[in-house]
Subunit: 315 residues, 2 copies
């Protein structure tokens, strides 16, 4: 807590406004935190349904959008591509959140960019490359401050989606059938605390991989997001599927597996897994007053509650 | 019933023994019916774990095994291939159950071959080609008589596995995500009455297709069998997975889908599907006295009961 307060003070000190005015400004713009987890390969040329929606959730064309492309091996190239797309979508204030190394991730410049953003967009690449840069840095804390306290809309595609969860699927083999420890888990940004997100899901046949990690962490919900498809999570409110494909929720919380009885990379037995296949165009509310809630089976209500639950502020 | 009795009489009249002796012989050899549903591409050259097991379930090297290759476009070639494999496995009495057309399927020759068999092995190909030949023929009735009354072991690979169920998945597109009416259902041989069998399951990513048909028939259990993998069903007793891969049981009986609200080939929403992934080497008993039964979650017990339930004698 102390560190975050320090961070706020520092962020405020660096701003143009005095502290109390800045705090007021933060409070005035406080919105419900939203996440846009995209399964990769989102349309950037045609209708751009997902990116258009992302811009809208950031606040529209006047939103300040910062592109975090550090997961990519070509951060500048990726930034330029998104700069063009966001410009074409009418965004006048987009900028590259160009984090060079962990020292830079601790800099006031980076922190300020994050705290000022209405939207942070995290590109694809390798989720570990991004985490190696920001883990336990001021930038990491600023991202949480921005999301939790300012309602900044955090979007991520492919690796940028995987990184949104606390327990992050690091790249690993994707066996057709689940195997013990087929893929490694690592720590991600942690905006979603009780789910593990995988991407390119049905296109790359990753159910086996997601089941593999759920055998290891049966307390988590598995979220498989297809390409050109996004799961929009409105904290405390609802989840919605946008785009072309579907989101597969894999709930292993009542699972029985032989994880403890077998060796690494042996084939898993997995009994009693619950699956919900949510196609694009559907919204699932976590509020009992909502029509969509009433038509949901209890097991899905429960899964949605887990997804929209506000995780802790990290940092 | 009359027709089947007639069939029995005819089969008996054609046999070497008088009717009462034949009936006695049938009763003496009556065993629990077993099905060996193979997901295609079973090993025929190396360890041949599945075919070896099939021979064992037929009664060993002295078993009379009849190969029904009518699903194939090259029935003779397929028969010759299996003849060699069965010979290599020590079977001295294997023969080609060569059904040429529906008239032939009504012949005493074919009926007698079936009623005399300890094992019927159904090859791959197109399940509809086989059903077009045998539907409502004496051969169809004889297959049921052999399985239900004589305990003949019926094995089938690929199309030959699909055809074992009453509600048979006819060839159809295998979309990554389930779509309304993506694949057609037709009537199969019906040894399994409450399940739909699909094959080449994880290799060809057929979960979407199986889910598609379950949306249409949520009262059925979906059974996805991998290549070089078999589900051995001992009627009333247990199921066992043999070979290299796994069997995926997809239970949609508590499913909620939008099947009634959408048009053909539209994307399905499927909520609350239960999945059990059963790896090779596992046996699941339907008997409460068995250890494997006690460690099974209730949902799996229920699914296994459905699989081992004796379906009606058809014909």
């Amino acid at each position: 807590m102390f560190k975050r307060r320090e961070l706020m003070l520092r962020g405020a000190a660096l701003g143009l406004l005095p502290l109390h005015a800045r705090a007021q400004a933060l409070a005035a713009t406080r919105r419900v935190g939203r996440l846009v987890a995209i399964g990769g390969a989102e349309d950037r040329l045609q209708d751009r349904v997902i990116l258009r929606r992302y811009v809208e959730l950031c606040g529209g064309p006047r939103a300040r959008i910062r592109v975090l492309s550090a997961a990519s091996g070509d951060p500048r190239g990726v930034w330029l591509a998104y700069q063009q797309v966001f410009a074409e979508l009418g965004v006048s204030d987009s900028a590259h959140l160009d984090i060079i190394d962990p020292t830079h991730a601790n800099s006031a410049e980076v922190v300020d960019q994050i705290l000022d953003a209405d939207g942070i967009f995290i590109s694809g690449g390798d989720q570990r490359r991004l985490m190696d840069l920001v883990w336990e840095t001021e930038a990491f804390r600023a991202l949480h401050t921005a999301f939790h306290l300012r309602g900044c809309c955090v979007g991520g595609t492919s690796a940028g989606a995987a990184v949104l969860s606390r327990h992050m699927l690091a790249q690993g083999a994707a066996p057709r059938l689940p195997e013990k420890e087929a893929a490694e888990l690592d720590l991600g940004l942690g905006f979603v605390s009780k789910a593990i997100i995988d991407q390119h899901f049905s296109e790359r046949g990753r159910l086996g991989r997601l089941l593999s990690v759920l055998a290891q962490r049966p307390d988590m919900l598995g979220v498989g997001i297809d390409e050109d498809t996004a799961l929009v999570i409105e904290r405390g409110l609802s989840v919605e599927v946008v785009g072309q494909g579907a989101v597969t929720l894999v709930d292993g919380r009542q699972l029985r597996s032989n994880f403890d009885d077998i060796d690494s990379h042996e084939r898993l037995e997995m009994l009693n897994v619950r699956v919900h296949l949510l196609p694009a165009g559907r919204r699932y509310s976590a509020s009992s007053g909502d029509y969509s809630f009433r038509r949901m089976p209890p097991s899905l209500r429960d899964a949605v509650s887990l997804l929209v639950a506000p995780g802790p502020i990290r940092g």
